[in-house]
Amino acid sequence: MKRALALATVVMLIATPAVASAQSFWAQLGAVKGPVQPIKFPHDIHAGKLGMDCLYCHYGAEKSPLANIPAVSICMGCHKIAVADRPEVQKLAQYWDSGKSIPWVPVYMLPSHVKFNHKRHVRAGITCQECHGPVEKMAVVYQYPSLKMGWCITCHRERQNRADSQNPTIMDCLTCHH
């Protein structure tokens, strides 16, 4: 009995931090992480090297709760001509030609009981990078923050405690959970 208890404790001790720190651990290391996408879309080239505005593709972010995954037509707006010979772009063209959309693998997933509103955050002057990390440097986009509630709250609490805090419901549960 004692041994079983001890074993369980040990397993728990090992398991808990391992799971909890998995994200941040890999994030620090900068190793390849994030899901394999149907097309290796390089955010570092588009947002970094080319300096494209995030809102060019994710145009919903400033006017809708959802940031919006761009339609294939937006990609093809440039890639009909631009670097149309690259293999990944040809994959894109294949999707376009066959009339199929690209089944992207989601990176940022919130549970259904959380209602996050992009518009409110963008209009409050929060940059995309504050939450999504240095996307302009990411060849493969990965989940940068933990997306745990504590992570949200840290920022919300800091803003609430500012002297000029104008929003009495910034820390209210109902703002996100309804």
């Binding site: 339609a71 009981h113 209602k115 409110r120 009495p168 549960c173 959970h177």
Partner: protein, 1037 residues
């Protein structure tokens, strides 16, 4: 459905094993869904933001304007169109439930043909070929072809007519509630066959002779709005209901005259005679001869209404100028229904109401609806084998025509029967070929529901992909083309556009066709104020009381169900679960019996009772109702389907089976009030699910009234209740105490937080509850409540509900279910008290007397939802802080924090929290409430709750957040009335007002400080955010 899915032990273990595996693998990369973006982004869709389209409701012929809310291309809610002249922004429950017709899982999925008695799926091509073969043959051989449609009005009706003409056949517009007696009576009395526009708003007194104008009669939403406006005036607005069975409309009356069935005619004429003989009326004085025989004493003999009362009613009716008498409801449609309506016309004529409150300007469009005589002619020709091909669209005569008419049997003799219905209803089920049509929300079309209104329907979404349906107009055109008759445009849309050209000339002066069309679509149609047709009295038919058939038993009253109309609502789970407004029974039929009559038969509530006539018999649970005469029983229509999908099929009984062959003598309309029945107790257990069994409020003062004399200052305020003496703000409390409560409700900071009791302050003895004040139950707060977010609060959300306007229609309940993803649970769970609705209408029968001499009628309706208490009993008992008070006065419920102790619900004095005992959102569970594609309706802004979670009204916090966000985007303060919870938005009478108590100018502030305000269960000191306004109590006649 639920019986099919039963786990045995082995399956359970297998599933448990899979569950365990899933749990273990949860440590690895979680399995993900895919994100599928658009191929080409549509211009009009921004994911996450709702798009609204204007359209027209097709759930009844009233034709209310709709605003249809779509998200990511699917319809998630329908609301009334504020610009539309018919309903001006509100919508009844049936209209809001049209969504569940669109997403009904039992819609016909593809064309089907009957082969060897079984349905076989076929392609559209094949289907059209088969239909054209039969149809072409019939047309070439000059054999009979018939098409039956509902009262679609507008272009579709014209197309169907032309189609039938080209095929050499007949077009029949079949509508069970056809108002043909009303039209016929108006033709005889005024020379104009029309359903008039009743102006309730202008009337100073209304007498309804069995017209359920708040439920199904005429244009209920518009009438409810006018009626509420009339009732808002304390100095007038008296309403008398004359009917043997008190309907929902009658329950709103100040006085119920429980007239003998069929005695309404005598009463109307008797009142007219009193007005004429005493020279009181403002109207026609030449009609004395017609009513000479109806002395008050004679009326008393024929109707059981005391002679005295006849005189008093008549005098008051004549003195209230203009007044209004209405008749023509289904429940009073007897063999003399034209006579009854003519009698009421005469009463209006002598009182001078014709042209004032009975107007022939915006008349309802029932012009094309076939009289029942024509239906019978079609039945005869079908029976004689003269009809080779029958096409049915939208109508369901096999169910809705009474059994004695023999429609079903005659239809079986038609060689080839084609249904264009979207649902497999009883009529489709008897057909040979199904060519499913699109739902109204997926279709382009128009309607002319009333004179001067041309209302448009537009496709608000792409057709639901699991149903391979076509627009009915296109199907008709394709059929004609394939069968080689007629010359029609290539498409239905072309036909429609051509029909709108004259309207373009008339309304779109100077605008291009495109601009005019786009504007009209966006507005919902075009309309104008029609000129009133002046009518003159042209004579009345002979008056005679109807004779009831069959022995000496109780009279059978069949009434139109406020939820299901003529039966077309029965396939929608929201409407099945929506309690009947007067009985609060769900998912069933019932037989309403007076408690004394029931006692004589040994019947208790819910006991099965057998009702027999010469035509047939039905067995249904008994509902003991003090609102029905002792010599009557009543059964609602609309249930007892033998097809029409899983939600309708097999629920309750079809009371039409009881009708003996009987028609109105003058118009030929089906007589519903025509039989006497034998009733007996049947074997079996009591089985009637009801959401509210209690009819009395037992001195709890939940629904309060105030005599109009007090409001008008002619009488002192009523004596205060003893129990509330010590309660601040309670009835009869001192001015200082009232002030304190008002201050609490309207000021920021600590007043939006639970109040701390002063040292030494004791809870009044009557207000002792099981809960401890929050500061005693928990440790002292770290941040004092006078600081932090609560101090800076900018709003105190609150609601004012006017019980004088609420008529119990329950449109708010459906609106709430639609907005907040509230599941339906079915009758078994409701019998165990597990209904999930967030708002309910409580009805209290304070005084109901079935004697015709009765003076007062006092039935009260109280919309009851979370009161958003300032000092909420639910909050301190939650062990996990899942329910708490937010800075804006909302009593929050955080689903993901809730662990399901149910302490909050146990401690809630209003019983407005509902608990997810089962997983209503899990497809694999038998309790699943949203079978595909019903789940398409779910509002993405609201969490779908899972098992073990408590839920309740949130004041539609998602709408509050959206409203605040919109204001912030435009950098402006919130406007009053900008945020409307679903219930307030849908209310036909605007009984529910929502707003910010911290804005002293808001409507809710003004209501909450008015003379009539009170708080429910105020003794408990819960400081509700909902203020009720007392119902006005008027002097009876």
């Amino acid at each position: 459905m639920s019986e099919d899915v039963v786990f045995n032990r082995r399956d359970f273990l297998k599933l448990a094993g899979i569950g365990a595996a899933a749990t273990l693998s949860g440590c690895a990369q979680p399995p993900t869904d895919r994100l599928i973006p658009y191929l080409i982004a549509p211009d009009n869709i921004l994911p996450g933001v709702a798009t609204w389209y204007a359209s027209t409701c097709r759930e009844c012929p009233a034709g209310c304007g709709l605003l249809v809310k779509t998200r990511e291309g699917r319809v998630i809610k329908v609301e009334g169109n504020p610009a539309h002249p018919v309903n001006q922004g509100a919508l009844c429950g049936r209209g809001q439930a049209t969504l569940q017709g669109l997403y009904n899982p039992d819609r016909i999925a593809s064309p089907m043909a009957r082969e060897d008695g079984a349905w076989k799926k076929i392609t559209w091509e094949d289907a059209l070929k088969r239909a054209a073969e039969k149809l072409g043959q019939a047309v070439r051989d000059h054999r009979g072809v018939a098409i039956i449609t509902e009262n679609a009005t507008g272009s579709f009706e014209k197309l169907a007519g032309e189609w039938a003409g080209a095929a050499g056949g007949t077009h029949l517009v079949y509508e069970p509630f056809s108002y043909e007696s009303l039209r016929e009576a108006n033709r005889r009395c005024f020379g104009l066959s029309a359903v008039p526009h009743f102006d309730f708003e202008r009337a100073k007194m209304v007498v309804s002779f069995g017209a359920d104008f708040l439920e199904t009669f005429g244009s209920p939403v518009a009438q409810a709005r006018g009626f509420a406006a009339m009732r808002a005036r304390p100095e007038s607005g008296f309403f008398v209901a004359v009917e043997p069975r008190l309907s929902l409309t009658g329950a709103n009356a100040d006085q119920w005259v429980a007239v003998r069935p069929g005695g309404e005619i005598a009463l109307a004429l008797g009142m007219a005679r009193v007005i004429l003989t005493e020279g009181l009326g403002a109207g026609d004085k030449s009609l004395g001869e017609a009513v000479a025989a109806y002395t008050p004493e004679a009326v008393e003999q024929q109707s059981d209404v005391p002679a005295e009362l006849v005189q008093r009613l008549a005098r008051r009716f004549a003195a209230s100028r203009p007044s209004l008498a209405v008749a023509g409801g289904i429940a009073s449609q007897s063999e003399q229904s034209v006579a009854l309506i003519a009698a009421v016309n005469l009463l209006n004529q002598v009182a001078g109401n014709v042209g004032e409150t009975v107007r022939f300007d915006r008349t309802l469009n029932f012009d094309a609806v076939a009289p029942f005589g024509e239906v019978q002619r079609l039945i005869q020709s079908m029976d004689a084998g003269q009809i080779d091909v029958l096409v049915v669209h939208g109508a369901n005569p096999v169910y809705a025509a009474p059994a004695w008419s023999g429609f079903a049997a005659a239809m079986d003799k038609v060689q080839y029967r084609i249904s264009l219905s979207g649902m497999m209803d009883e009529t489709s089920d008897r057909c040979d070929l199904l060519l499913p049509s699109l739902h109204a929300l997926e279709s382009l079309g128009d309607a002319e529901p009333a004179r001067g209104v041309w209302s448009l329907l537009q496709p608000t979404m792409k057709p639901v992909p699991m149903f391979d349906a076509h627009p009915a107009g296109d199907t008709l055109i394709a059929l004609a083309k394939a069968s080689g008759f007629g010359a029609f445009p290539a498409a239905w849309s072309e036909y429609l556009v051509a029909r709108w050209q004259p309207l373009h000339k008339r309304f779109g002066a100077g605008k291009s066709w495109g601009a005019f069309w786009d504007e009209s679509l966006a507005r919902g149609g075009v309309w104008e104020e029609p000129d009133a047709t002046q009518v003159k009295w042209s004579g009345s038919p002979a008056f005679a009381a109807p004779a009831l058939k069959g022995g000496s038993g109780p009279a059978l009253v069949l009434y139109a169900s406020p939820n299901h109309y003529d039966g077309r609502g029965a396939n929608k789970p929201w409407l099945q679960e929506l309690p009947d407004p007067t009985t609060k029974a769900v998912w069933n039929s019932w037989v309403e019996i007076h408690p004394e009559t029931a006692a004589g038969l040994g019947l208790a509530m819910g006991d099965p009772v057998k009702v027999e006539t010469s035509a047939g018999s039905v067995t249904a649970p008994a509902y003991l109702y003090a609102g029905i005469r002792k010599d009557c029983v009543a059964i609602p229509l609309g249930q007892g389907h033998t097809a029409y999908g899983r939600y309708a099929n097999g629920r309750g009984v079809n009371a039409l089976d009881l009708l003996p062959a009987s028609q109105d003598a003058a118009s030929g309309a089906v007589a519903y009030l025509t039989a006497r029945v034998r009733i007996s107790k049947a074997a079996g257990p009591a089985d009637l699910a009801m959401t509210q069994r209690e009819k009395q409020q037992a001195d709890r003062q939940i629904a309060q009234i105030i005599p109009v004399a007090v409001l008008l200052g002619t009488a002192p305020a009523p004596a205060r209740r003893d129990t509330s003496e010590s309660v601040p703000g309670g009835p009869g409390s001192s001015a200082h105490e009232v002030e304190e409560v008002e201050a609490f409700n309207s000021r920021p900071g600590k007043y939006t937080e639970p109040r701390e009791m002063k040292p030494g302050e004791k809870t009044p003895a009557h207000a002792v509850t099981a809960y401890e004040p929050i500061h005693r139950a928990r440790a002292a707060r770290q941040i004092p409540i006078s600081e932090g977010a609560y101090k800076n609060a900018q709003h105190r959300w609150a609601m004012a509900i006017d019980l004088n306007s609420c008529n119990g229609c329950q449109a708010c309940v459906v609106a709430c279910s639609a907005e907040n993803n509230v599941p339906t649970v079915g009758p078994d769970l409701i019998q165990r008290g597990r209904e999930m609705m967030w708002i309910r209408i409580e009805r209290y029968e304070e005084k109901l007397d079935a004697a015709a001499s009765s003076s007062r009628n006092d039935v009260r309706f109280v919309p009851m939802m979370c009161q958003q208490c300032g000092d909420a009993p639910c909050e301190p008992v939650c062990p996990v802080y899942a329910t708490y008070h937010n800075p804006e006065g909302l009593n929050a419920q955080v689903y993901n924090r809730c662990v399901g102790t149910r302490y909050c619900s146990n401690n809630c004095p209003y019983k407005v929290r509902s608990f997810n005992f089962f997983d209503y959102s899990a497809p694999e569970k038998p309790t699943f409430a949203f079978p595909e594609p019903l789940n398409w309706q779910l509002n993405p802004d609201v969490t779908v709750r899972s098992k073990g979670v408590m839920e309740k009204c949130t004041f539609c916090v998602q709408r509050i957040l959206e409203g605040k966000g919109n204001a912030r985007d435009e950098n402006r303060p919130l406007k009053d009335g900008e945020i409307q919870p679903a219930c307030a938005q849908g209310c036909p009478t605007q009984a529910i007002v929502f707003g910010d108590l911290m804005d002293p100018e808001s409507r809710v502030s003004k209501h909450s400080h008015g003379e009539r305000r009170y708080w429910a269960l105020n003794d408990l000191n819960t400081k509700p955010g909902i203020t009720y306004l007392k119902k006005m109590e008027r002097e009876t006649a």
